[in-house]
Symmetry: D3
Subunit: 326 residues, 6 copies
């Protein structure tokens, strides 16, 4: 199954566990972005993922492209242009100390590349599904226009589409975000939201009460006419332990088990959830929402933004099998 | 607020997690000492901390000074002399394996520097508070004399003072320690003790029962006439998990919440507690003992002896907010 | 007490925590093997351990020998021959993600060395106890013959013997394993089995119910006439947390406490159990099975295959003392 | 330009500089192989490189594939099968201490995969050039047959071909190698040889005297009727310093400058030479042999088997410009 | 001697030796800037260095301040404001591969802070010397205005001043740079230039011929009326080896020896030269230019932007004493 | 051949290359001492080396013992006692920056252990040769007495003996050293001296002129009646490059080639020289002095104090073969 994802790729810099950014003498380098993380996970599951973005010319952009290629993501349609790479610093939390993300992404080459620069129709060839997130339209008018063009073209050629309702408060206001999102919803089949996402739309989130979440999912689906509405549910026991689950409302309402997970890396879980859900729905898995929630949990045990593992590792999580495999 | 701390700075050498000292091929280098850890924490909170000690001439002593300067501690009154640096090896524990500290501090340059060598009156200029601990008088006659001189001079010029009742069994006997401490108590306003400290003075410690701790605090305060008596309370669930709290008896009796913390680094928590308490009392925080206990807990999630963070990070612990900050 | 262990030593390669083998850029190097791990632990307890194996000539084999010598294991009877070193990759698990071991040991120099090549009688001189495991006979006809020869010679000269009933499904069938094991049992005094081991022999394992384990131990002892039958009991809460205990049936039936342990390294726990049990039985410790189970738990907190610690560290675990030692 | 390379990919394990394998506690992980190194370099220059090999199923094989994808090599035709990964240990030399490579590649999955298992005709589609080396036929009958099939098919469809005359003495005899190579020569356009390669064929090598090398190249070209004969020339000043050059005999005879290089990584230089020469010849560069020799030299300054850099970095070496670029 | 330096501090990110940025998995973190490097070096020599800049609020800015404090630089007058930290990536060269610096400094908080925001008169109190470089005015109108204000105020209060004629081609045109520099020259006592700097002013540089350099120094001094004109001279043998020297024209013309140095870190040498020259001139060293050139050479053997060493280490370089010191 | 060595083992702590001790955040751990380095090298060559020393009880002493056992050194006669471990910091030099050793060895457990505590006669059983150095008698009266006892007992039982004339200026005066050494010389067969050693005895050293060295060796041998007098010769081109050779005067006078070596680790070369010479003389190698000088050079290319390699690696240096070995 060929799937196109669209969004910025950021340089991620992380100090060692237990070390504050203010004290770090070395930083590990990864590249991540909500949508490219989805692409890497889909590639691991065996789908053909194509990622669309713009990167700076030269070694830093090459490093980002390499990181995607490594996971089998098709990078042929990525633009290389003069400009800077967006970046973020991720300081992992621990126990009662919260983790932290500090962005340095303003005026990145992706934000400053006009939508017309991309070879959209070639990139969309043979594509069955398109995935975007709420971060991209927040990055500025070019990225917003690109998001809309991609979704419209996808629908026009019969793709299914998904939208992860990520809201980044440092990028725009709640009002602007809601307005922008609602303009895109007509082109979206699967909408994925966390409790923050529901809040943004003025829909009551159900916290970690899956039954109460049903109401939220129903309102989300009904109000905007999505084919599927999915909610990720996170209970934060501490910065080192979360309980993760999800609900999905399509023709029926299904819920996942709750996975209690010790956190090795807090970033990218929602993207793993989205990838798991897309993969499970497109391939007709019986328990799509459970597969998605298990992806979310599994990602938290792996270092870096990206989880690129075969399906079987997710099924092992679903089986709850944690014995050493020989 | 200008605060002077006095005490030895040690070279701390630590193997990687899970590796015994007997197997280590590399050691991380930090510098720490009960009182200089307090200075670094106070500096992080915005106080002007001056640390008084003696260090060996040459690169090793320079490394120690650099580590203090890094955190904004004023090192102008530190002496540099011929001699050796005290050191300790810290092997972190894990789960049911206890951590371990091995000292190699005998005959350090600090222990062998006479009290008369320090420029005490210049160092104390404009100082509002002086902090010492029970380790310093244990290091030998020079250090004991210096402790007394500093406390007396502090009181003479109207400073408030604090004393952390640290007892190091490898340095002297319980009898000698108690006698020395009691000779200093007349110059102390705030006395901080753990259950070990109370034991040394023959006061019943209340374990982790905060109500029972009140009795200990009352006897401590009453017997020696301190303005404030504070107790740090530690329940050791395992080498990886502790529950930390504290009580403070000043004009009223207050208790902190108990913070359950996964331990990333076991050393320096009591010093963070002391710094938090001093800072909170001097700046008139409403919940001084809670601020102090939160400092103790937060320190356990940070690598190294020193916690040098802005106040806001402590308040976040008090709020129990462990969600990822973006 | 001089003890001989026999078995293959493998090169162990491990990625950093949280990193999959597919993503690793560096691997830590250790050497391990079920029986040589026992030798290292015994040496730590003060016994004289002699290990018998074959290693490749050249630097890789030298590295393996160095790793044993480091722990005081006598390597004089190890053969160095043309051939390859067996190896395995260990990817640590975390939380709900299982750990994994990938073997690459086929046709190793140990598997291809004929039993007649070893100086058995010299190696067995003054030996009081011999330890082997079920892995060695699985490695091929040479290793199987060697196992038998060593056990027979040991009994002939009056040594006690122990056998760890390790079954490796990638090496042979259950039928072949059971047959081979049963042929060796007449020469075995102490038989150590996990629940997998009992299953192989068609004996009902008692799970984590120590009372039910008694039945298994009784059947194991009675059926084969062992002097001691011991079971290791592992409850897998998650890949990061296990509960470990054991039972021993000799003249009486004894059980250990259950140790709940956070796992830093999952490999080698059973070997530490075996070493602890052998040491405790040979030296007449009152609570042999508790010492053994504490060894198992303690090993899980130490990085690498080998635990080489003084007895006192095991006793500290038995006392449940996890406070920082200064 | 689409180019197919064929050959085994090995796991490469390297201790830190200055550390012997017998002392190493960690090994860096790279993947390399003579022909896949050529593929990675060609991809860096902008060619479309397809690599053909067989890898083990599971994570280790995935790691190898990831390492190729990272550099943009097309891995679609790589087989994944049950079996083991070939590996080698590389201990870097320094100054008067020679470096060392220890192979552990016997019975790898590549060596044991029959030629018929590959989708040769699909893999060769649109391919303009095919590159193989003398290592592949040495790996056993399957690999030898595969080499022949690929070269014959390439010629049949009008591709140009290149052959790097690598001789590995641990894999076969000189007689067997020469016989096998000569059977392949009719299908080879460009033959690349070091002095060892010439020796194998009984042709006098010219050492580092480029004029004398001309005779060797002329005999090589004339005897076997190659379109191009190229020689790599290496003078070993020490394990840390080599002088590298090359000669090419096509329609005319050309020589490169000699590049004196401090060696950061000794492995893969010949592969970079081959890639540079293929690229330069296929794209009609004026100074093909200089480009190739500069690639060889540049590779020695980069860690790992693979050099994947843009053309411009090679041209900078040719210009001799070593000033810091801002 | 109290000395004020003014300029941007950048986050410096560096891959391990031999690894291209496009391949790096971790980056070492240092902070550097031409002028703050001078401050750190002066502090090492015992001068009181005050650095003036603006840093982002929060942890990244704190890390930068910590790095300066570590070396004893007075950071009291540094502003903390909303904004981003300028950064650069430094890929070390080796042998015939040139090193590379990639800047990402546009719109940094320093560039966007108006000159009026700084407490110039407080910062200049008791200052004897002010040092700036040609980078600062290139960063934009605010920084240019600040440079001018600082130099004018310095002269007005009788300080001596120095100017390092750094030209960064990515920041502005040669014409703009020359114009801006010439506007500042009336306030400059000591002008330091490399051959690039002379070129910018249209003065013939003498390459590595110190006699020919004299002409350049004479024209520089005469044309602009400097009290001292100094030239740094670098011959680039390779990216790993440079020959470094310098000339100084004050009342007399003096030249340094040429130091042949193997390069461990290529960045910051010119700043060490400037610091050495300022220190030597202000303290009346006899061989100021030799001290400066030795600083330049010594810096190349130390990792990071900053050299903070006692004078004695520079004198040892001047003596040519490279024997191990015990 | 069984050989006993006697002397202190020190904890060696080293920062990464290019990092000053004052800036180091981690230190690599090795253990070394002039005489135990000799033991490790001899063990590598196949001799049976027994080392005599005293180590602190506990983990640090255990780490030291492990490091010797790793190299096959017999540690059975090492005492474990209360006390501290001597240590030293080694900051590697580079190019024109000299390396540096900072000792912290005063009052170590070895220095404070009386000679009578050792089981000398058991340790000397079957020993053919005894090696000591001039460091041991410098450590205090206990160590001096021990040195004398060991040498006298060795001669009494017919061993040959060697003495490395190491002089450590921080430990005692030249006069005291000379007096102590001369008292030991009657028991010494082979005396090894550097130019410093000759200076101490008032013998003119020949610098790097091997002919002139002959005079020094002749005077040394004649004056004290040694069987062999050997001189190590070091020309320090820079901190990164030395030229190393040696001369030996026994029945005849022989000289080694001069080995130009790039220095990876500067410490322990003289000990490798001593080990090579002892091994070559005891085993009757034809070119003993060349073997010794090659050992010295080879050691400089290996990280750590100890060189433990097979003879063959030294012969490769003698052959000057620096090509990659496959």
């Amino acid at each position: 199954m060929k799937i196109l994802t669209l969004g910025e790729v950021l340089l991620r810099l992380t100090p060692p566990a237990g070390t504050r950014l203010a004290d770090a003498e070395s930083l590990s380098v990864r590249f991540g972005g909500s949508e490219s993380n989805v692409a890497a996970a889909l590639s691991g599951f065996g789908d053909r993922a194509v990622h669309l973005t713009a990167l700076p010319q030269g070694e830093i952009g090459q490093a980002a492209e390499n990181s995607l290629r490594r996971y089998g993501v098709d990078t042929r349609f990525i633009l290389k242009r003069e400009g800077r790479m967006g970046a973020y610093f991720y300081e992992p939390g621990a126990s009662l100390r919260a983790g932290r993300v500090i962005y340095d992404r303003a005026r990145s080459v992706f934000a400053e590349t006009p939508a017309s620069a991309y070879a959209l129709s070639e990139a969309l060839e043979d594509v069955a599904h398109v995935h975007v997130s709420g971060i991209t339209p927040a990055l500025g008018p070019h990225a917003a226009e690109l998001t809309q063009r991609v979704l419209m073209a996808a629908k026009a050629q019969g793709c299914t589409t998904s939208f992860d309702l990520n809201y980044r408060a440092d990028l725009w206001t709640r009002t602007a975000a809601r307005e922008a999102f609602e303009a895109l919803f007509p082109y979206v089949d699967l909408c994925i939201a966390s409790s923050d996402g529901l809040d943004l739309l003025g829909i009551q989130n159900g916290g970690s009460d899956l039954a109460a979440c049903r109401n939220g999912a129903e309102e989300l689906k009904a109000r905007y006419g999505f084919r599927w509405a999915a909610l990720t549910v996170r209970e934060s026991i501490s910065a080192s332990e979360n309980r993760l689950s999800g609900v999905l409302l399509g023709e029926t309402f299904t819920t996942s088990p709750a996975f209690s997970v010790e956190i090795l890396d807090r970033v990218g879980g929602g993207d793993a959830f989205a990838a798991g859900l897309i993969h499970a729905l497109l391939h007709g898995f019986g328990e799509a929402i459970s597969f998605a929630a298990a992806c979310n949990a599994l990602k938290h045990t792996l270092y870096g933004d990206c989880m690129c593992v075969p399906e079987e590792e997710v099924f092992a999580v679903l089986r709850g099998d944690t014995r050493l495999r020989r």
